[in-house]
Amino acid sequence: MGGSWVRQGWVIPGLAVLLAVVMGLSLSIGSMPIDWQELVVTLRTGGSSVSATVVFDLRLPRALSALVVGASLSLAGVLMQVLLRNPLADPYVLGTSGGAAAFALLVIFLGLPYQGIPLAAGIGSMLSMGLLFLLARGEGDWSSARLLLTGIVLASGWGALISFILSITQGAEIHSMLFWLMGDFRAVSPGLTRWILLASALALGLFVARDLNLLAGGELRAQSLGVHTLVLRLGILFGASLLTAAAVTLSGSIGFVGLVVPHMMRRLVGADHRRLLPASALAGSCLLVLAEMIARTVLAPQQLPVGVITAFVGVPLFLYLLGRGHRAGSP
């Protein structure tokens, strides 16, 4: 339980500072170390030195991608947990990422234009979450076991489809395609659309934060207090799917971010979405920027997929939460 000082709004500024520090670290650490002074000079002046190439062409795009993916997956996790009324919900665990990845790969496999990939990924994640929403809903309320089983089956179904496509693809660079399964970053910038999506998801989320709080406390009660729950749920479904698709098309399926981050943030700032949403976005960014940095440095010159690092953190936490029984909620 956090002391009152963390509740009084220090967490969010603190995380913003932490994100700046982590970004700085990520830009300076690597096979070619760049010290802070040099980094500041490079960032200010740009130029065409070797360090400028390393920073602007290699490290900055990856770090920014990690930032956007981390924030998007964390927000998607928070939203899915409200939608499905289950703190174990996560885009990776429940197959939403898998749906996006499978549809994206399908576009490549069928030889359709590459511009169709984001759209296909969006459709894939929405389809996956829509199926989950329809199938996992038992009589009345959500049962945790049913939801998780449905999600896990969907996830393995998408995984099988991805494996199938990969195995019948001939002559393609299988290794580079594996990133859809494992999750990794390439030196690609996140692109304006993803920034806009992230910013508008956060802004809209904050606008309906009070409604999200009520929805988490039960659908009927939320309705009785004036929340249009059907519209809100559809909005969440749509938003979380798009966020997941945006992340997956950039980095493949990186797991457990949407599970780990909201869980940690609830312990720090409580369950109020007015603070939980921004805190999760910032913490998710920090986590993935850090994970990306570790993935390319810890066994250098070998690069690990980032999804492996997040899974090492996420799997034990998931099992712990599952064992503890989710009904107790997070303190």
Partner: protein, 255 residues
């Protein structure tokens, strides 16, 4: 003047029909108790009146306006409901949980005001939870949670109040005490209250109107004095009941 009126309504779920062709008028100062056996559809009727379940037939008006044509927010400002079960996904502080009752009155970016906070505190005091504000909801006992929910409903400040087994989980003292102070306040403010009750004597003691659900859509309603007869109640509960007078009070004793 009626606060809530139903005309020719049929409410039910699945194979259960709670009422058929029921006319009902809730006026200011009235306290209704809904009585009936388990599974007869008492909760379904209450949820239907609250607009939370589809109406099978008929028309419901809230404060003179059709329930369908009111916006959700307007409806929530006029009618509040206490649910039978308390759900929580993530634990919050007690003050935040009670503040949810103010939701229909605040909107969008604007936060809650000092006025809202004062009202929350008043309601917490009223239900005997002063000093509990900063506690987490998950640390409360069942009875304390029930009182917290009643405080949240009080903070909603509605003219129509629907209660589903309000004294569930409550200690004897709070059953009587809370019913008395809450109902007095609601009556003083000219509210209309309808509650689903299990304890017939508590229902008779605190209400002035009764609605009996016999099952299969058959109902009976009226003043407590005219409806609470041995024969009606014996039939209602499927168990013989005897009327006993203690001082000025009338009790029903299951034989």
């Amino acid at each position: 003047m009626s606060l809530l009126s139903a005309t020719g309504i049929e409410a039910g779920v699945g194979s259960v029909t709670a009422c058929r062709d029921l006319d009902l008028t809730l006026k200011p100062g009235e306290v209704w108790s809904v009585l009936g056996q388990n599974g007869v559809g008492k909760t379904t009727l209450l949820l239907t009146l609250a607009g939370l379940r589809p109406l099978r037939a008929g028309e419901i008006e809230l404060d003179g306006t059709s329930l369908q044509s009111l916006s959700r927010k307007e409806r929530a400002r006029k009618m509040g409901i206490l649910f039978q079960h308390f759900e929580t996904l993530f634990s919050t502080r007690v003050v935040d949980a009670v503040m949810t009752g103010r939701h229909p009155w605040v909107s969008g970016w604007r936060g809650t005001s000092q006025h809202d906070e004062k009202m929350v505190q008043e309601q917490l005091d009223r239900v005997g939870l002063e000093g509990f504000g900063q506690r987490m909801v998950t640390t409360l006992s069942g009875g304390e949670r029930r009182r917290m929910e009643i405080a949240a409903l009080g903070a909603q400040q509605t003219k129509v109040v629907l209660l589903d087994e309000p004294v569930n989980h409550l200690d004897l003292h709070y059953q009587v005490h809370l019913m008395r102070i809450m109902l007095e306040e609601w009556q003083r403010k000219g509210c209309a209250v309808m509650m689903v009750m299990h304890d017939i004597n508590l229902a008779l003691r605190f209400s002035n109107r009764l609605l009996l659900l016999f099952g299969d859509g058959e109902t009976c309603q009226g003043d407590v004095a005219s409806v609470a007869t041995e024969s009606n109640l014996t039939r209602l509960f499927g168990h013989p009941l005897q009327r006993v007078a203690i001082g000025k009070e009338t009790l029903f004793w299951p034989l």
